[in-house]
Structure formats: C-alpha cells, structure tokens
Symmetry: C2
Subunit: 461 residues, 2 copies
C-alpha cells in the first residue's frame, strides 16, 4: 500500500472523561471503566482487529482549576480527573496484541530524563518496539504547585523540553553500542564494558554524566510525538518530533499548520514528509446521515457548559467565568497557555464565537472538529481532510467513550479499507516507527537531527 | 489456616542477573529473558499456580561503580544492569492472574511523591488491590549523579523518606472521601467536589498543597514494604512499614532483627505482630541431599569473584579491590552505606571472613543464606527459620534465575502444603494486604500510624 494509507490512532485518556463534557451521562459511555484492566485489554484487541496503527494516551500532570478559581467544576464533570498514570496499562495491552503501537504522554517539566528514558526503553523492549512518547511540557499550574518546581513560563518550558529530549536521545542512541551485550560465558562477560559509554551531559537544566541503565531496544528511541503549534512548539517539533498531533478547526487551518511544520522540518535539514501530521477529530457515524445528525444532536444536548469551560479555562489559562456566555469573544489575549481562544476568534470560522459556542463545540471533541454522517459521508470527509491538507492521518477522539470508537470500527473502517485508505492486514513492519515510515524503518530516520548523536559521544571509560 | 502459614514471595530483579554473580552462565539460567513480556506473564502464572503470596521486584536507580572505581566489573557480570523499570510489566502479569501480589521498588530520593502516589494508586486499581511498594532511599552514588540531586547522606535520606511517605499517605488516605465518586447523571455530578480535599502539605522536602488526582482504590495505600535494619531503618519501619525484608545470615541474627523491629512497632503504638518480617534466602533443592549439595557445588564453581565484589562494593560503599581476597576483614568501617561488612565480620559467623569467603557466600544469593538439601531437608529448615525466629515467611531469591524458583515449586511447595505451612487454595481475601493480615484487611490496619491521617485533613475547599 502506498502513502494513500491514512495513519489512524485512537485518542484516549485513562479517566472517566476526556475532551467531551457531560457526555459521560450517555448510557453507552464506558468511561467509568477507566480503571478496569480488562477494559483496556479488550480495547487493545478491538483496535488491532480493526487495523489501527495504535492508541495514544493523553495525560495531565495536574488538574483544571482555573475556571472560577477552583477545581470544583472540573471534579463535577470528571474533567480528566480522576486520572490514571497512562504508563501502567501498556504492558497488559501489549501482551494481548502484536501490532498496535502505544503513544504515552509524559512531561519534560516534571520527569527526570534519566528515569524517563529507562521507562520508555523498558516499554520498547516489552512491546517489541511499539512504544511512542507524546512529549508535553505541561501547562497546568496545579502540576507545578504539586510537583514542587512551580509552573515554568512557556519559553522556559520549551528550552527545558529541548534539553530533556537531548539527554534522552543520548541515552537511547549513543550510550550502549548495538553489540554491547555479548553474553560470553567463556570469558565471563555479559556486557562488554568498552561498548558502554557515559553520555557526559552537563546542561542548563540537567546533569547526567553517566551511562544508561538499559540495553538497546528494538526502536532505541521511542517514536517522538508532539502537539505544539505555537512558534516554539513548531521549532521543537522540527528538531525532534516524528509526528505532530494538531487540532485544526478547518481543513484550511490544518493545511497551514501542516505547511508550517513541514517548512520547519525542511529548515532543520529533514525531508519534510518525514514529519508526519495527525489531525485530532471526532467521528459521529450512523447508518444514514439523518441518524448521525440525530445522534450528534443527542450528544449536544448532553454537553455540560461548566464542564467544557473547566477544560477550556485550564487549556487557555483564562478563567472563562468572567465572560458572559452569550457575548462574542474578541481580542482576548491568553497568558502564554495554548492559543485556543485566538484560534476560535481569529481563524477561519467566519463567526464571532461566544463562550457558549465554544462550549458546544469543544464539549463534543475538544478543539478538534466533529465529522458527522453516514459511513460514506464520513469516509469522504476524512479523505478530503488528508488529501486537501497534506496531513497523514488522524488521532480519533471519542465523545462517548468506547462506543464512538466501536461505531467507527463497525461503520467507517470497512469503507476506508475498501478504498485502500486503511490496511486490511498489517504489513511486516511490526514497530510503531515502521507504521509511520514503512517496514525497515524501526530506528530514527537518517535525517532526524538526533541521529547526529548516534555515534558514541566519548571514548570508552 | 492459622498463622502457621508462611508468607512466601518470589524475589527478583528485571535484569539478566540479580544477586548471584556469574551464575548467568549456568545453562538453565533464564535471566537473559528479562525483557521478554511473555517470560514475566508465564512467571506470574507459575507462582500463582504454586500459591505464592506474590512477587517482589528489587530495583536500583543507579548502578555499581564503586569496585575499582568503575562500572566495568558490574557491566561484565550484568550486576543488575541492564535493568528494566520494574513498574512496567505489572499490568501484564496482573492480567494473567487473580491472586498474587506485586511488590515494586521505588525510591523516595528520586521520585516526586505526587506522581509516585498516582502510579501506585493506578496499579492498585488495575490489579484490584494487589500492589505493594518497597520503599527504598537508594544508596548508589551513580543514581544521585544522574538523577540530578546528588547522593544525600544516610540520615538525610531517611528524613526525606519519612516526609515522602507522609505526603503519599495523605494523598492515598485522606484526599478523596470513600464516597467521592457519585456519577449522578441527573445532577450532572461525577465527582462530588465537597468530598475531595487538598492535603495542604508544606514540609522540608516537599510542597503538595493540592488534591490527589485519583479516586480511592481497593487498598488505598499500597502495602508498604521496607528493608532497612539500620537504627534509622528500623525507626522508619516502625512508623510506616507493614512488612520488612531482612537478610540475616543466621537464625539467631534473624531473631534479633525480628525482635528489634517488633519492639519498634510496639513503641509506635502498634500490635508487634502487625509488622510482618520476611527473610530473604535462596533454596537449592534436589531429590536428595547429595544431589542438592552437588548442585550447590556447581553453583559455587560458577561464582564470579569480580561480579560479587562489584555488587558488594556498591552495597557497602567500600571499594573491595583495596583488600587482599584472602586476608580476613576486621574492623572495616563503612561510610554510611549498608552495614554488610560488619554483619559478616562481627555477627554469628564464628569466623573471620575474607573477601573471597564473602564472594563465595553472596555470589549465590547476596547477603541471605542458601538452604541446600532434599525437599524434606529444605522444608524442615524453612520451618525452623520461621519458628525459631518469629519471622513470618520468606523472600525467595534465585541463584539460577527462574530455574531455582521452578525447582522450589516442584519439590518444596508440595511438602510445605502437606504440612499446612502453605496454602493449597487461596482464601477469599484477594488483596495483597489481606495476604499478610487475613481476609477483610484490605486497608491499613487500625493501629498503623498513617491511619491518624485518615480523616480529612482540612475542610472542603
């Protein structure tokens, strides 16, 4: 299959509710099973049976307490709280599958690179090369307060992220030679010491003088996912990301983001196509357009305004309770959080958004669009989104947890498979990186900037 | 079954080699499969079939680089390096089993309590209450150097551990009321905000003002395991531990440790018997005593002196390469690391240990004894160890990885079961804590000091 194939990831959060607000009240919603191991094992089998590329778990190191200056609205709507540590279910999901990849979110602001690098290397071994890291810098002030470092300003967070990634890449790519493990009983040498190298990293944020604790894994570095579309986010992605998750409201906006990311990659000396772009969206599908629209209307009727605003205030850093729900927002400036308000007020929409408009929109699928219709309508629309924007595929959120995904698999996957836009059988490349870049590409592509760290950085100790 | 039942845990390390040195060369050793997920799944099934209480994973945040001032000898013998993050395999092992518990080692010196508390709560949910935490303060200087904080002195590490645990207990026991999750669709309330409380912790090492991110799990707090037998270690255990792993060389030494720990527990206002003590040891069993002795001799012939000294130097903080292997050690002072040298030189042994004696001893099973013999001999000896010392059971290490455990299960378990010293069927208490304290005790016992934190610490926000 050629590049016609869409890359497709389920997008989820190990919590009763993710992006949608109030929809946990839908009778088919399964979010309440978020801490049931069997739920995730069955989930993994289902998306593998449907030939997804993988699942992608968001996370938040804190919680939403900007709206009304309190966490109360966030708690009442289970706005990503309670939330599990997303790393913990991966091995169970991996043991039940062979092909799907696993993207896990972890923060460069609150994790030590030395420990985090080992965690990902462990999962890369255990999954046989099916792990990816969604690199985030964490926007929530609550995370900074509870994790002891305080919330860093936006620019500082990105500088720290760049150095954090540099440390991790050094540990993954250059500390242990490919042939370091010899297991030579005769000489009584398991690891050849001359083939393991201290990374001697001494930076602004991190000092890691020593060797890594882990042997080279199938992919070495996990697949690096990022999500930022701010100038600093694009700059970091150009240097380090292999795939970027975006959530444009329109195809035109998506195309602009794709172009900006690819331009950044090219400027970093990379093949622009080697930076994959995945659009986040939600699909509401039913046998006919009318039934799908009725389903969408039901969903909209369940949206919780306060739940949506709890999320939105957290994402933007702006307490939305200060605005009249029905007065259009214009020229509202954010304080360095995500630029979601400006996205709604300035781009593409052709209307002046009110807080209530925003709540109704993001209450379904966060800041990504909802595609509503029959299987054919949805498939047409998905093809249009990738073909017109140059994006590579989708990160598929669920407004009604589990059920939306199951409906997509039942109704849309067969249509996309028939059109040659999805696999019917997995190809031979079993690692996550090969799902993005094709069989044979288990390791960072040759033009990835981190490959410059690939040679041992120092002589053997 | 009464208290006659021994508590029995497999003791392991997710690495090619754990305590034994050079024995990875034994043809039956399976340590090289340490990063194979199926290996651990099969392992979990095997010990559950044998009615173990669980498995206990050691870990090291650093590596052994004290011997000869280098990590080379440690690498050559795979002395706990490469090593996996022990958290990562747990969910796969849990998905394949229903009863066994999982003890996981994590360091209070290098983990943020806010993040670590969520990790354990996640696993407590996913395993349905089968998780335990082996609390360590991390002795390795390499860990301090690579994890950015520097290695803290012994006393400082214990003060930090006590506060770290206090933060975790507050998050586990008192941030969320038992009935915080209401999932009331009519009122559109998933979590009742008035039932979630900030912990307002402001201490010397940690500031955690906010609420926990997780709902109450089956055990709330994981079962707290500790291993220290220094005065500070005993003091911490008396206040916080539910079970302590010790590695006495003789039954008399074990009895002294048991008595000291129970005395400490009593002084902390607890029932002394509520602090369980598990002795670490290795069993080498064969159909007859002669065959077992021959097996032991084979093991001894495979011990690597450098590999044993790499570990021992790391544990004690003393570079053992400065001593003649064949001259007895006397009056060697350690610098605040584990007191292993004094244990060998001053206690019970009735001989002056040389470095080579130590290597031959610890090269099999670290600082715990090896029990060698036929199934009956071994069973007699195990009964004697618990009956004469007052200890509660064992942490069973394997000199030849996997195979020693399989041999124990084949030969010794049936004998212990016949004598009523091990379960033939699990009882109804499915959590790990109930395995220690009996069915109905899923939560911290009433006399545990952390229960004083059980009431909400502050009014609702």
């Amino acid at each position: 299959m050629t590049d016609q194939r869409m890359r497709l990831f389920a997008f989820d959060f190990q919590a009763p509710a993710h992006l949608s607000a109030g929809l946990w009240r839908h009778p088919l919603d399964q979010g309440h099973r978020y801490n049931d191991l069997q739920y995730w094992v069955d989930y993994a089998k289902m998306i593998e049976e449907a030939r997804f590329d993988g699942v992608f778990f968001a996370d938040n190191s804190g919680y939403q307490d900007v709206y009304q200056g309190s966490v109360d609205a966030g708690l009442a709507d289970a706005a990503q709280i309670p939330a599990q540590d997303p790393f913990m279910v991966i091995s169970a999901m991996a043991a039940a599958t062979k092909h799907i990849g696993f993207g896990v979110t972890a923060s460069t602001s609150y994790e030590q690179p030395y420990a985090l690098a080992r965690r990902f290397a462990t999962l890369d071994h255990l999954t046989k090369g099916r792990i990816g890291w969604n690199v985030v810098t964490s926007y929530a002030g609550s995370a900074g307060r509870n994790l002891g470092t305080g919330a860093l300003p936006h620019s500082e967070r990105y500088a720290m992220a760049a150095e954090h990634l540099e440390v991790c890449f050094k540990l993954w790519e250059s500390s242990w030679d490919e042939d370091a493990i010899v297991r030579d009983a005769e000489r009584c040498v398991y690891v050849e010491p001359s083939r393991v190298h201290p990374i001697n990293h001494h930076g602004k944020y991190f000092d890691v003088p020593g060797i890594g604790q882990f042997a080279p894994s199938p992919q070495r570095s996990p697949v690096i996912f990022e999500a930022g579309t701010s100038p600093k986010g694009i700059a970091l992605a150009a240097q380090t990301a292999e795939a970027v998750f975006v959530n444009a409201v329109t195809i035109a906006a998506l195309k602009r983001q794709v172009d900006a990311l690819r331009k950044g990659a090219a400027e970093a000396g990379r093949d622009p196509r080697s930076l994959k772009v995945l659009q986040m969206l939600n699909v509401i599908v039913a046998p006919t357009d009318e039934e799908a629209q009725a389903k969408y209307d039901t969903y909209r009727s369940l949206v919780s305004y306060a739940g949506a605003m709890a999320r939105y205030s957290g994402w933007t850093g702006v307490d939305m309770s200060q605005f009249d729900p029905d007065v259009p927002l214009k020229n509202v400036k954010t304080d360095g959080g995500q630029s979601t308000i400006s996205l709604f007020t300035e781009v593409d929409s052709g209307k002046d958004w009110t807080p209530r408009d925003i709540a109704e929109f993001i209450g379904i699928a966060g800041t990504g669009p909802s595609i509503v219709g029959s299987p054919t309508t949805v498939a047409d629309e998905l093809c249009r989104w990738v073909d017109e924007s140059g994006a590579d595929g989708f990160n598929l959120a669920s407004a009604v947890k589990y059920q939306d995904l199951a409906d997509f698999i039942e109704h849309v996957v067969p249509v996309l498979q028939k059109r040659g836009r999805m696999w019917t059988e997995y190809d031979e490349g079993s690692t996550l990186r090969e799902k993005l870049h094709g069989a044979g590409n288990a390791r960072l592509l040759a033009d990835h900037p981190a490959r410059r760290l690939g040679a041992p950085l120092v002589d053997a100790p």
